[in-house]
Symmetry: C2
Subunit: 444 residues, 2 copies
């Protein structure tokens, strides 16, 4: 009965502590639900541990980001969290960052820091191995924890101090090639957010401390979002994944970029009604989940990152960087997809595919049916969360709605007698009865 | 031609910088080969970035550890790297750790630290959610970066400052249950090391700063190991994975533990010839890659981690912790498996399954054959590293031996004319000719 099952778990020996009441310290819905569903726990101000269900979602988001970045031709590396201050002094950013940078002195009295981003380090790594234009273009990314010593961390993992970010870095010989790299990431981002099940819109943005002269923020729309945004209603009708467009189609990518950046979208900081004249405008709220930059030689020049071109000249590299807030997205997706009873996960990032509720664990026939369904769904490659706890029906239903898996299967003594199970779609709330024998086929 | 391929890569647009000469700073073979094969790069003393091939190996090791820990009933969490000093003061370890602990003051003047281990934090997390014996036993683990501010970091990632560790923590009601938890991990470790393709032997060990009264180190045997070990030759004849033994077989696990701990094995610090009288002894060298501890109430008592038993008494939890040096294992495996030409990866952790060498990229027929093999092997689920660079045959052969993939397929103009490819087994050095048409079938 307890044979190890790869992706599915039994709640009776899992670690998913759930709570009925809203915690006082949580101001926003994603923070409330993540605490109540036992996804995270604060360990210091703005620093969180990820409990098993939270980690499952975090990993699924990271894997979607990874797959789409790989598909665009980027290669994954992993840079350390602790950096030397030296390169930051060379780039001139050591002082710019102020108190948000966590500064550390090691036992050898060297100035170190917990990286808030990695432009300097990746430039230094790249230049130590690459010397010729033949080795271009390249795009290297990593998914690593960052630290930003916020003066007032809040909103749970949405504005935490230790956070998980994907940051990619492109290296090219000239501005035109760098723009092509930018266009690749631009498309990759649309595909990532589509796969994550959220609507994200790119908006022209200030470049802030990263610098550069071309930049877009990607904003996920959510009623509870932190800022107001203004977007042409075309965004809600357009397919934004450019199906069939290949990353080696340079012209196609350029056209896609032009088309998309021609559709009006602006945050309230930048929005001017006169710019949006004649546009069928929707006002909404949004959360920033990604930010991409082209900044040319801003880092390669002070750090001396050059390659030889085909005529033997030393050329300073053109670079861009491309961030996605992986841990922030966990909260962002919840903000965009929930109801009064809890989270409603898009299928691609749900911690499990199916919740299986056993209404009476003292009833052998219920247990037998549940075990069979559990094992067969798992064997069919589905991830099942089986609620086999010694708890009442009310708590089981509430917890299952709270954790927000796409499908719920309920097995009770009456149903078992009649050979019937209940199936519920978490998003629509629709319930239906179906023969126990067809549950596995229906959900596989 | 450049359609995205999931797990396989073309060297012409990859990032795997290789070097012919041994770097001066590298004293041991794993450090030398990791630098020469472009797996890692030092970014500060004892701190490394993982380049794409290095990261692939690191992830494969982590995934094997993860699968076996899950199979034993442990659940994965993820604790942050930065911890508050408060809990360490409560446990009494804040001062014990000395200068190896990286201490940090944040902008709010709070004492923080970069976690070297997580006994305090996990105990605190566990106690805030678990109050009843019914919620026991549990085992929670994470795979997270740690920091140990070594006075003299060396040997590359074998003794680095920032390193990746798997640490699991068990929670039980009493000593007997805690021993069962220990036995589960004991078996899980044997299975992990067997899957990683290395021979590891558990040796009774001092408990050091973790404390406790039962502890084993797991030592991987390698001629270049850091310490001398003495082991009964039975270790090299015994199946150490107890095939078929289930984790819920409490008695079976206890017997397995007794049997294994009855076979002599000791590091030179502990070895006494009189203890090994009559034992057919092998002297070897070894590298510590895992360490498991039972330490009872050492942390639960000062941190007040208790549960109610079935009679309503508050019982202090019995705990153990179980570490594996994930990043260290990358070096440990290389130390155990290499020759004068480079690394010899066990199949389970090799960055790719197959290296495909195109001897003449200016020859259309070579390219066509290589593309076909590349795409078909990839479609068959194999990970292929395709050397399609504009380089000479010598460099291609040397690099492929250096990076150490289990199989090499070589395609050249002469062979293509005759319809033949060359297949080389990296470990045995054996080469054979085979029809081009049968390469994919042979390797799938």
């Amino acid at each position: 009965m307890n044979k190890p099952v790869k992706n599915s778990v039994r709640l009776s020996n899992y670690f998913m502590p759930t709570y009925k009441d809203n915690p006082k310290e949580a101001e926003i819905v994603s923070h409330r639900y993540m605490l109540r569903a036992g996804m995270i726990q604060q360990t210091s101000a703005g620093i969180y541990a990820w409990l098993p269900t939270g980690l499952r979602v975090l990993n699924k988001i990271a894997d979607i980001v990874r797959a789409e970045q790989n598909a665009s031709g980027a290669h994954e590396v992993l840079m350390p969290t602790i950096q030397s201050a030296d390169l930051w002094r060379q780039s001139g950013r050591y002082d710019d960052y102020g108190k948000e940078m966590l500064r550390i002195t090691d036992r050898g009295d060297r100035d170190m820091l917990y990286g808030p981003t990695n432009e300097e380090m990746i430039t230094d790594i790249f230049k130590s191995h690459v010397g010729s234009y033949k080795q271009l273009p390249r795009n290297l990314y990593h998914i690593q924890w960052k630290f930003r010593d916020e003066v007032r961390p809040r909103f749970g993992i949405m504005r935490g101090r230790e956070f998980l970010m994907k940051d990619a870095y492109s290296f090219d010989l000239n501005k035109e090639d760098a723009q092509y790299a930018y266009h690749k990431m631009f498309l990759s981002y649309f595909r990532i957010f589509a796969k994550l099940g959220v609507q994200a819109i790119p908006m022209k943005a200030d470049t802030g401390p990263i610098g550069g002269d071309m930049s877009h923020e990607f904003i996920v729309l959510a009623d509870t979002g932190e800022s107001e945004v203004f977007a042409d209603k075309k965004w809600f009708k357009t397919d934004m994944t450019a199906k069939g467009l290949e990353y080696n189609d340079r012209e196609g990518l350029s056209n896609f970029y032009k088309e998309m950046s021609g559709i009006y979208a602006a945050t309230d900081e930048i929005h001017k009604p006169e710019d949006a004249e004649g546009v069928d405008l929707k006002t909404a709220r949004g959360i920033e989940v990604g930010h991409i930059f082209y900044f040319g030689t801003k880092y390669s020049e002070p750090l001396g990152a050059t390659v030889q071109d085909n005529e033997g000249n030393q050329i300073t590299l053109h670079m861009g960087s491309y961030g996605i807030g992986v841990s922030r997205l966990v909260g962002g997706i919840i903000e965009a997809s929930h109801d009064d009873n809890g989270i409603i996960w898009p299928e691609s990032v749900s911690p499990f595919d199916i919740g299986l509720i056993n209404l009476k664990i003292s009833d052998d026939s219920c247990n037998e049916v549940c075990e069979k369904i559990f094992n067969e769904l798992d064997a069919a490659g589905k991830e099942v969360l089986y609620d086999d706890r010694d708890e009442g029906a009310g708590k089981k239903f509430n917890d299952m709605d709270l954790i927000g898996l796409p499908w719920q299967v309920t097995i009770g003594p009456k149903g078992v007698k009649n050979g019937m199970a209940e199936l519920k779609n978490r998003k629509t709330g629709e319930k239906s009865e179906l023969p126990i024998d067809s549950v596995v086929e229906k959900l596989s």
